[in-house]
């Protein structure tokens, strides 16, 4: 049971206990509530725009405007879920702080998921100003970066043509839709910095542009946003925009394929009989349809695997890309008999060919036009040939633009979904 302790032992024990308390208490007390902030003292920022006018930085923030919720009272009809405020200053942080002069709540950046750069600002170079966002513990490194094409960032902010009530989240959703459509680019701060610091790789971020809304039935905003394309950077400065096809090419080669789709022309010749390929006929043109109408198939990618490699062949650098895609036949406008394995194989072949050609074309455009290695082949080359890399690293952009590339595509259609018969196929054929 209880240990017998001598009076000296007991006072020793007491001393130790007091010491323990003295050591533990400050740990608990002095770590204190210095960073405590009540929810109704902060303004939650959902989007942030950075611009530059002359020497002055302009930071625009989109802040949530919380409508007090009271049980029983009806929800107010006002659409103002957010409010905008702007600060100007000598530096980005100065501009952020100057917001407090005009806006009552301190901007809370932890939930900011969108950072938009005005075009002028991006041309001036974003990397040195990203330091604040990278350094500050409040900002989120997973914020998506976007460049506003031919616009100031604050012109983009506030446009909401979607269902989301908060414009910032509308933009976020657009960016995240990349998984279904790779002609846009999703890049967050971490990814940008990673690409920037990688030798032999140029960073690339998303692009956002304002479009005039064509649907006149809608009484809402006259404009809508589009994240199609990407902005390409050279050493932290904006050097141009990629169009949709080029962006798609970048995404494919980087292995960022998601659930995108490929539209391709049907093979000219398909085997008519599953057993014998000896009686080919002209690729499924129904007689009623004019010869000038193309028959197209659409392939939806479910799984993909991309292998990239760099080799030196005969003293020249060869960049190799091997793409394996697996998915389903999503749309078929021709009348080919896709219940036959041979036909499917021909369709797979056509799909591979189409993709391969598209990628090759766009790859070469990027190579020749921008001379920027956004794919990271320099990085691969650095790993494979460290010695040779030393010779080319200073003019890698030039070497890259002159190198050859070889793209291989393998397609596998594992299902034709609910039907084997194209809807347009004539009866009895």
């Amino acid at each position: 049971m209880l240990r017998e302790t001598s009076p000296e032992g007991r006072s020793d024990l007491m001393k130790r206990r007091i010491l323990l308390v003295i050591f533990i208490l400050p740990v608990i007390i002095f770590t204190g509530c210095w960073d405590q902030r009540e929810l109704n003292k902060i303004g939650i920022v959902t989007a942030m725009g950075i611009d530059k006018e002359g020497d002055e930085f302009i930071v625009t923030v989109e802040v949530i405007k919380p409508e007090p919720v009271r049980a029983g009272s009806s929800v107010s009809e006002s659409n103002d879920r957010v409010t905008y405020t702007q600060g100007r200053g000598k530096s980005v942080f100065d501009a952020v702080r100057n917001i407090t002069l005009k806006f009552d709540r301190k901007a809370f950046l932890s939930h900011n998921s969108i950072i938009i750069f005005g075009e002028d600002f991006a041309k001036d170079g974003i990397i040195k100003y990203l330091d604040l966002i990278n350094r500050d513990q409040e900002t989120r490194e997973t914020s998506y970066l976007l460049v506003a094409e031919k616009a100031k960032s604050y012109e983009v902010m506030g446009i909401n043509a979607g269902i989301e009530e908060i414009p910032g989240r509308y933009i976020q959703q657009l960016v995240e839709n990349e998984v279904y459509n790779v002609s846009s680019l999703k890049m967050d701060l971490v990814g940008y910095l990673r690409d920037y610091y990688n030798v032999g790789k140029q960073p690339i971020i998303g692009k956002i542009s304002i479009l005039k809304k064509e649907n006149l039935n809608d009484n809402g905003s006259k404009y809508e946003l589009s994240v199609e394309g990407a902005s390409i950077f050279n050493g932290g400065r904006l050097s141009g925009y990629l169009n949709a096809d080029e962006t798609e090419c970048v995404n494919f080669i980087k292995g960022n394929i998601g659930n995108s789709i490929i539209t391709f022309n049907n093979p000219e010749k398909v085997p008519s009989d599953g057993l014998s390929t000896s009686t080919p006929r002209v690729g499924g043109m129904p007689k009623s349809v004019g010869k000038d109408i193309k028959q197209q198939s659409v392939f939806e990618i479910e799984e993909s695997k991309v292998k990239r490699d760099v080799e030196i062949v005969d003293g020249k650098i060869l960049m190799k890309v091997n793409i394996k895609i697996r998915g389903n036949l999503a749309e078929e406008s021709g009348d080919i008999d896709i219940s036959k394995r041979e036909v499917i194989e021909a369709v797979e072949e056509a799909c591979s060919k189409q993709l391969q050609e598209d990628l090759k074309k766009n790859f070469e455009t990027i190579q020749r036009k921008y001379k920027l290695d956004v794919f990271g082949f320099g990085q691969l080359f650095h790993i494979r040939y460290p010695d040779e890399w030393k010779n080319v690293k200073d003019n890698w952009a030039q070497v890259f633009s002159e190198s050859d590339c070889k793209i291989e595509v393998e397609t596998h259609i594992h299902t034709t979904n609910l039907t084997n018969t194209p809807t347009g196929k004539e009866k009895g054929k």
């Binding site: 902030r37 009540e38 007090p68 029983g72 809370f108 939930h111 989240r169």
Partner: protein
């Protein structure tokens, strides 16, 4: 000492009982002229039995001293000490003094009103026996004996309390009980020096291991099947006359999330419910604290959409979040306490007012935010799944709330460390409170968060049971 003269005995007894109105004493003569003195407490004995079995027979009595052959009663005792006789009278016996004899007889003819065996209100079950202990010790003993028909089931009786002379009974199964624990229980029981024991909770407080910590290391039950199960694992139980709550010793932490139903239902549902109970213990203690910590320190950890909802609810609430939470928890305690104390008739009125005030009016008035009401309500509901850890939950909930509100998640981590360290360092009568997790025991873990099927229970809990550990007798024979 008993005097040979009836008159003197009568005088002594009348003095001892201070002329209390429920004390009866009277003399009569048998046909042979022998004088008798009969005394008892009115309302403890059966008056018709007295006349039928005792007085009737004694009137015809002729023999000199020995009346055992005459009085038709089974529980008849010879006593020569006056103090013992007084004790017996107080316990519902009839004392019979005979002229010219220094030996008196006591006959037990107890009869008094007691509550019928009923379903215990504190431990209700869906599957399993519905009977619960009553206030009468003897009935309680009979209920246990009916469960365990074994000659090794032992009841050892003591009397505690100078004034109340409460009968208590230590129950165990010889050959299974942990002797160390049994000796320790008896040693601590004998050391109790008090004038009154009215309920087993008072005994619990006298014999508990460490009164300074909040953890209770003695368990209690109202159900004979639970008690039987526990003594079959090698535990010791203490019954106390006058209360339906029996103590079982030692108590492990895991017992608070176990129920008797776990063993009567299939293991799948039992395991799931046990995990639910454990989770609800965590929720009940931690939820308000974590909510406040996230809300006032770590807003970046909350999903954006949820944060927006939260901030909309917070908008216009005048008090800081910690105060708001404390207020709600206090209101809840008011409600719970008034629900227990109030007469039944007023109870429903209180619950209506409470629900309206707490649930709607306070939110509508903008004094508290709606999510706070939900959080506190969830914590309260979770609390009811583990009634035996109520005090720990209530105290630690507030403790964690303040730590979370003033220091954030760091404080909650500190609080949790304190909570866990305190729990695992407890000992209940020499048995580790955290068993079977600390110290880890492989066979004990089969009856931890997951209740294994019965065929896996080959041994009793090794921390408690030291002798005759095997349950599976076929294994013992090999």
């Amino acid at each position: 000492m008993i005097s040979k003269k009836i008159d003197e005995n009568k005088k002594i007894l009348e003095e001892e009982f201070n002329g209390s109105s429920d004390f009866s004493i009277y003399e009569f003569k048998s046909k042979s002229g022998k004088e008798f003195l009969v005394s008892y407490i009115n309302n403890l004995v059966d008056p018709s039995s007295i006349s039928q079995y005792i007085i009737n027979n004694l009137l015809n009595y002729e023999n000199k001293f020995d009346i055992t052959g005459v009085v038709a009663a089974s529980r008849i005792t010879e006593i020569s000490d006056m103090n013992q006789i007084i004790d017996k009278i107080l316990n519902g016996n009839i004392a019979i003094f005979i002229e010219e004899s220094t030996i008196a007889y006591t006959v037990e003819l107890k009869q008094y009103e007691h509550r019928a065996i009923d379903e215990p209100n504190a431990e209700t079950v869906i599957r399993g026996p519905k009977e619960g202990f009553v206030e009468d010790l003897n009935i309680n003993k009979s209920m246990i004996r009916r469960k365990i028909k074994n000659k090794n089931l032992v009841f050892e009786d003591f009397t505690l309390g100078e004034q109340t002379k409460t009968r208590i009974s230590v129950v165990y199964i010889k050959g299974i009980v942990n002797i160390g624990v049994l000796e320790e229980v008896k040693r601590r029981l004998f050391k109790i020096n008090t004038d009154s024991i009215l309920e087993s909770g008072m005994i619990e407080e006298y014999i508990i291991d460490n009164p300074k910590t909040i953890y209770s290391t003695i368990s209690n039950t109202q159900k004979p099947d639970v008690l039987a199960g526990k003594i079959l694992e090698g535990r010791v139980a203490v019954l106390c006359d006058g209360t339906p709550h029996a103590l079982t010793i030692p108590k492990l932490f895991i017992e608070s999330i176990q129920t008797s139903e776990d063993y009567y239902q299939r293991p799948y549902i039992a395991s799931l419910l046990r995990m639910v109970r454990f989770f609800s213990l965590l929720v009940s203690i931690l939820l308000p604290g974590i909510y406040i910590a996230l809300q006032t320190f770590h807003q970046e950890m909350i999903p954006t959409v949820f944060l927006i909802t939260m901030s909309e609810n917070r908008e216009g609430v005048p008090l800081p979040a910690v105060i708001e939470a404390t207020m709600m928890i206090l209101m809840l305690e008011f409600l719970k306490e008034s629900g227990t104390r109030l007469p039944r008739a007023v109870g429903s009125a209180v619950s209506i007012v409470g629900a309206l005030v707490l649930g709607q009016a306070s939110v509508q008035a903008g004094i508290v935010s709606a999510p706070m009401v939900i959080i506190v309500a969830v914590a309260a509901i979770a609390e009811f799944t583990i009634p035996s850890q109520r005090e720990i939950i209530i105290y630690y909930r507030l403790f964690i709330l303040f730590l979370g509100g003033f220091i954030g998640l760091y404080g909650i981590t500190c609080g949790l460390i304190i909570l866990v360290v305190q729990a695992v360092t407890q000992k209940s009568f020499g048995v580790d409170y955290g068993y079977p997790l600390t110290p880890t025991n492989k066979s004990g873990l089969k009856d931890f968060l997951v209740r294994f099927p019965m065929k896996f229970f080959k041994v009793r809990p090794e921390a408690i049971s030291k002798q005759n550990v095997t349950r599976d007798k076929s294994r013992g024979k090999k």
